[in-house]
Amino acid sequence: MTVDTAATSTRGAADGDPELVQLLTPEGQRVPHERYDALIDDITADDIREVYRDLVLSRRIDSEAVALQRQGELGLWASMLGQEAAQVGSARALRTQDHVFPTYREHAVAWCRGVDPAQMLGLFRGVDQGSWDPRENNFHLYTIVVGAQTLHATGYAMGIQRDGAIGTGDPNRDAAVIAFFGDGATSQGDVNEAFIWAGVTNAPVVFFCQNNQWAISEPLERQTRVPLYRRAHGFGFPGLRVDGNDVLACLAVTREALQRARDGEGPSLIEAFTYRMGAHTTTDDPTRYRLDTELEHWRLKDPIERVKAYMVRSEMADQGFFDGVEAEADELADRLRSQCRALPEPAPESIFDDVYVDTPPTLLAQRDEMVRYRDSFADEEGAR
């Protein structure tokens, strides 16, 4: 019986590490990869520019939301700063018919799926608990209970199987599901049960773990002593680690995994090795538990800078293009600010509206009670 603990420590993934799939170095150097080059060989300069735009605009949504929270317009915000490449890369690997189950932090995925940025704010402003229609963009609502959505994703994938929407070879029909979750989430029973279900049923689901090194104040070592991607092997499906700050690598490995799923070859786990550059949420104070040096280290791996460097280096874009995206971001931010303030306030009676599809008489009675009670004040006011 030999001890099979980490050859690589949980933290050890460095650039050039054979365990880490990387296609674009932090310096913006495109490095060849035997396996994964083929998976992005159709990507044109136009595509790269689009990806760059996604990265910048989604980051702007995020930073604008942080600002809105500071100004009191949002109650809370969970920043994705630093995780743009993992999110845009994986999202851009999706087809329309694929379905996404996010956590509360997948703003760039939401952006790529076409969710209106203002809709991302509703939950955090406290005017609703999710305001987009998940069926419209095949992007499920944000799930706050850590890990719960991974089972929903797996069940949804089992539905896809039953619909015969895998393995037909029809690129517009075969579908897959992607479930997002964090490093901390891997400790939840639900996530492990999702792995079990997916393994046993061979469901078309991709488990995309953004290992951003922290679960609030807890470093990865509190969740595992071996790299997370290895978890998959014990459940009988492939797992790998990708440079989560490398949008091309994330695109490539997710494409592969999604296609496996769509082809009926079952689930996979992707561990995107990245870093949460901001606080856990706007109420968090990371200076209590982590060092600036770590932040500095990761700042050098910024997911946007490296794409920019790559584009400049390979002359895919000039300053005009970058300025244009910047201007677009400014506009987006402006629009978002005013859209945020304009988000409709919920009516108090709406509390009762969607508890059930069929609102029962008991609840209608409570609504009447609320309305009567509120009206009694109106009467008083009127009487004055």
Binding site: G130, L151, G155, D190, A194
Partner: protein, 330 residues
């Protein structure tokens, strides 16, 4: 009333027949859980379904209740109507988080955009001489949870139609099955659907001296108690709640206004059991009609005891009558 479509069925068989009917009517209906396939469930409620509807629609899941509920949520989001079986009452708790934080709230969270038409079947209650966790009555945990609907059948006819109603419901339904009554038989007309909503209580015996409210396994006990009371010249009205959330207390109010006395009976522990809500609500609505406080005849506030003394824990005919006596004593 077509007697040629009637047959004598046990509750277990009636649920089986109801499931079968739903599976036939709607290809989106699925049955999932531990041992529901070849075995037909430990109570054989799903007996033969896998053979007839295939392994895609009737399937054995890994042994994990959170997984059962959680994947059912995903299936429902994809347009299916999963019917999950929880093997015994005491084993629903690993799936409780998914039920309370996800199933109950998804419709609300989505502003009404998403629906979760799923059913969770739970054989519940004691009296079968079982070991720990196999005899519990956890219904109040679900009735306290907005967003879930909770029902319990008490006879084969209701078993047959209520399971179909639950499956047709666009809201998630927790469907409690009185396991110790599984093998009680009655005539069920398989075609003539009664004109009674899923979420409606029903007066099953009229009376004038006191009202007795119960549901599920205690209905038989209360009906027998009412018969015994009648012999002693006391007239009890018996109401089967049928729906535990939302409660349908209209018939109870109406009855209490006539009888002035109410006894509510269940197996579950007393504190915050369904009877507590019935007592509080009835007192609010019928304050001036009540001649006595609502008497709760229930299990005690203890864990379910070892089988050899479960009879002391469970309300029986005598304890129901004692409750009536206490109500009449005011």
């Amino acid at each position: 009333m077509t007697t040629n479509t009637a047959s004598a069925l046990t509750i277990a068989k009636a649920i089986n027949a109801g499931l079968r009917r739903s599976l036939e009517n709607d290809p989106k209906v699925l049955v999932m859980g531990e041992d529901v396939g070849k075995l037909g469930g430990v109570f054989r409620v799903t007996d033969g379904l896998q053979k007839d509807f295939g392994e895609d629609r009737i399937f054995d899941t890994p042994l994990a209740e959170s997984g059962i509920i959680g994947t059912a949520v995903g299936l429902a989001l994809r347009g299916y109507r999963p019917v999950c079986e929880i093997q015994f009452d005491g084993f629903v708790f690993p799936g409780y988080d998914q039920l309370v934080t996800q199933v109950a709230k998804m419709h609300f969270r989505s502003g009404g955009r998403l629906r979760l038409p799923m059913v969770v079947r739970i054989p519940y209650g004691g009296g079968i001489g079982a070991v720990e966790h196999h005899s519990e009555s956890p219904e109040a945990y679900f009735a306290h949870t907005p967003g879930l609907k909770v029902v319990s059948c008490a006879n084969p006819l209701d078993a047959y139609w209520m399971i179909q109603g639950a499956i047709e419901s666009d809201d998630p339904v927790i469907f409690f099955e009185p396991k110790r009554r599984y093998y009680e038989k009655a005539e069920v007309d398989l075609e003539d659907r009664p004109d009674l909503a899923l979420h409606a209580s029903r007066v099953i015996r009229t009376g004038s001296d006191a009202t007795v409210v119960a549901y599920g396994p205690m209905i038989k006990t209360c009906v027998e108690a009412a018969a015994a009371a009648a012999e002693e010249g006391r007239s009890l009205e018996v109401i089967d709640l049928r729906t535990l959330s939302p409660l349908d207390l209209g018939p109870v109010y109406e009855s209490v206004r006539r009888t002035g006395r109410l006894v509510v009976v269940h197996e579950a522990q007393r504190t915050l059991g369904i009877g507590t809500e019935v007592a509080a609500s009835v007192t609010e609505e019928c304050f001036y009609s009540l001649e006595a406080p609502v008497i709760r005849v229930t299990g005690y506030d203890t864990p379910y005891p070892p089988a050899r003394i479960e009879d002391q824990y469970l309300p029986d005919l005598d304890r129901v009558l004692d409750g009536v006596d206490r109500a009449m004593a005011y």
